[in-house]
């Protein structure tokens, strides 16, 4: 296990290093040092200011030295300074993170519960009316663009039905620490949107792996020795069929920062996705780079955790 752990961590650091180099090449080497200096200096930057920035950020040095300086700063938690807002990038990210974490974790609970439930129901009675319903719903939401679903839900609950009763708010975000009820109310529609578009994969995955497991010999044995069907399904069949579902959940939560960009834009939630879109509209380079680096680090971390969890569950994995 120790050898597996060490090898996996070394590999993760390698990927992280390569990802950071790729990010650096895209954002710094791609546009060239002159353009980067102008972006940092702001729209009203004078020629002298641009030259100053170029020197301060080591942009007048060879590419590998520029990268070394940048990577050194990132490793020390210094992601740069957001000139647009006038504060360090790290504190911009810290302010935006709670909203994104609330959105993703809440939605993940919903999509995992619904996905597993609908998958199990479908697998237990394949080709029944319920199975057809869940499978068609999965196909429908899998094809549904998140922004179309989000806007439709807003249209339905905030405008169409609003003369009847006032439903939940549909725009903005209230921190949990300020007002727990407001937090919950503001997140209902975003949670629902993110959960519905993501759950489709889980319905299919659970259904497929459950059908696979139900065909195994030990399920027949359990039935043959007279175990109640409910117990056969819930205890013997469900547990082994959840491993691929857990892997998928890890990957989806890892890359959730991509998916929340759309949801946060539609619902006006000031999280990381919304912040990155704002930063792009304002040409705010340090914030974009900061969030991209953070996202990559997070994905790599989650992947390592998923692999370790897998190795703990299944000793065969450690050999590969």
């Amino acid at each position: 296990m120790t050898r597996f752990l060490l090898r996996r961590l070394a590999q993760a650091f390698g990927v992280l290093w390569a990802a950071s180099a790729a990010v650096f090449l895209i954002f710094f080497a791609g546009p060239g040092p002159g353009q980067v200096a102008r972006t940092f200096a702001g729209r009203l930057g004078t020629a002298a200011r641009v030259a100053q920035v170029k020197h301060d950020f080591h942009l007048d040095q060879p590419l590998y030295l520029q990268y070394t300086h940048w990577a050194w700063n990132v490793l020390h938690g210094d992601l740069g300074y957001d000139y647009y807002k006038g504060e360090p990038v790290i504190s911009v990210i810290a302010q935006a993170a709670p909203a994104t974490i609330s959105l993703v974790l809440g939605a993940a609970v919903l999509w995992i519960c619904y996905g597993i439930f609908s998958g199990v129901v479908s697998a237990v009675k394949p080709r029944s009316l319920l199975d057809r319903g869940f499978t068609s719903a999965a196909l429908f939401f899998y094809s549904m663009p998140a922004f179309v679903l989000g806007l439709s839900l807003i249209w339905l609950f905030a405008y169409k039905l609003s003369p009847v009763t006032t439903f939940f708010p549909f725009h903005g975000y209230v921190p949990l620490t300020v007002d727990p009820f407001g937090w919950f109310e503001h997140l209902i529609l975003p949670w629902l949107t993110l959960a519905l578009v993501t759950s489709a994969t889980y319905t299919r995955l659970t259904r497929a792996s459950m059908l696979d497991v139900i065909g195994e010999d030990y399920i027949r044995t359990a039935r043959a020795k007279g175990m109640p069907e409910r117990r056969v399904i819930m205890v013997h069949a469900l547990r082994p069929s959840l491993t691929p579902v857990i892997t998928q959940a890890g990957l989806d939560i890892g890359t959730a920062l991509g998916g929340v960009i759309i949801i946060e834009t539609v619902f006006g939630i000031p999280g990381l996705g919304w912040t990155v879109v704002q930063a792009i509209n304002q040409q705010d380079l340090p914030v974009i780079v900061g969030i991209v680096v953070l996202a990559a680090a997070f994905v790599v971390l989650v992947n390592v955790l998923v692999d370790i969890g897998y190795a703990l569950l299944d000793p065969r994995v450690r050999l590969h």
């Binding site: 590999q11 390698g14 990927v15 992280l16 390569a18 990802a19 790729a22 990010v23 895209i26 954002f27 791609g30 546009p31 080709r127 057809r132 499978t135 196909l139 429908f140 899998y142 094809s143 549904m144 663009p145 998140a146 922004f147 179309v148 806007l151 439709s152 807003i154 249209w155 905030a158 405008y159 299919r204 259904r207 497929a208 059908l211 696979d212 890359t255 959730a256 920062l257 991509g258 998916g259 960009i261 759309i262 834009t265 539609v266 990155v276 879109v277 792009i280 509209n281 040409q283 974009i288 969030i291 991209v292 996202a295 990559a296 994905v299 790599v300 992947n303």
Partner: protein, 317 residues
């Protein structure tokens, strides 16, 4: 062959008809032809393609160009969009342009991006997968690491960053979506090739003096083609969705080209004031297109792989 197919074959033999040998391709094609949802989905896609090709014809019939603004008749008293009518079949957009004509032109963008981006990722995924699987060793680990790095940054996040650096354009969207989504196909092809390369016919080819290029592209490629086609048919709707998302965020296909994602983005500032048609028609067009491609993709997968038909799908086995 599955149970019912074997039964049909036995019945045919009993009736004294000849039993012919059929290739896996032929079998898959016959299964697709007898799949009702596949036929409906394929028909829908055909209609969408025809409408996209005929967009200029409809522009001529209505007399409305895609970028033409109708100041006055295309606007209500306060300058907003007008509802669907005999003149404007889908109503107009916030700039007084004909929404029907623009939705048709939007289909062109979606289809072109979907098909070309898929072509790029299929080419990259097949070549990298063949190389990684057959050559193994250093090439294999290098490609595996490149894929790890690409997968470490969420796709939409790289896409909007790259679009930010180089400025949005349709070609950039095609290249971004194409390059970023080859990873899964490369892994699938690699897995297949690793299993296939120990087979006797590959050893025979090697013994006859065939080089790695020949073995990869004339011996192995035809045998992984089914997987490639299945994956490609599922990748098209994904590419269309990603393109629409990018345009919705304002970093995809720029104005004045008509694009569904971009129309929905603009409509999101209007639909709540009663201009429902502005949101409805582009959204419906996008949803119908992705749904049709996904249904067809599922059917193609089931036609090639009966196991997946049993696990995922609707057909009795």
């Amino acid at each position: 062959m599955t149970g019912p197919e074997r039964a049909a074959e036995t019945a045919r033999a009993a009736a004294g008809k000849k039993i012919e040998a059929r290739s896996p391709w032929r079998l898959a094609y016959e299964r697709l032809r007898s799949d009702r949802s596949a036929k409906i989905a394929a028909g829908t896609i055909l209609v969408i393609v025809l409408l996209a090709i005929c967009a200029p014809v409809f522009a001529a019939i209505t007399g409305h160009g895609p970028d033409q603004q109708f100041i006055g008749i295309g606007e209500n008293a306060s300058g907003g969009p007008v509802p669907p009518s005999g003149t404007f079949w889908f109503g107009t957009d916030s700039n007084g342009r004909d929404l029907f004509v623009r939705v048709l032109y939007g289909a062109r963008v979606s289809l072109v991006v979907g098909v070309l981006a898929t072509a790029i990722s299929v080419a990259l995924g097949t070549v990298f997968g063949l190389a990684a699987g057959y050559l193994g060793g250093f090439v294999d680990s290098l490609i595996a690491r490149v894929i790890d790095v690409l997968l470490s940054i969420p796709l939409l996040l790289i896409a909007i960053s790259v679009a930010y650096i180089w400025g949005p354009s349709i070609w950039l969207v095609i290249v971004i979506v194409g390059v970023l989504s080859f990873t899964y196909l490369a892994r699938i092809v690699r897995g297949q090739v690793v299993a296939l390369k120990e087979k006797e016919y590959i050893q025979a080819a090697r013994a006859l003096g065939a080089g790695p290029w020949r073995i990869m592209f004339t011996e192995l490629l035809p045998n992984v083609m089914a997987q490639v086609i299945v994956y490609a048919s599922l990748l098209i709707p994904l590419a269309i969705l990603t393109e629409a998302a990018l345009s919705f965020l304002g970093v995809g296909v720029p104005e004045p080209a008509s694009d569904w994602g971009q129309m929905i983005d603009d409509a999101s500032g209007y639909y709540q004031y009663g201009y429902w048609w502005y949101l409805f028609f582009p959204s419906a067009a996008l949803l119908i297109t992705t749904l049709a491609f996904n249904i067809l993709g599922d059917s193609v997968r089931d036609a090639f792989d009966r196991r997946s038909a049993e696990l995922f799908a609707r057909e009795p086995s």
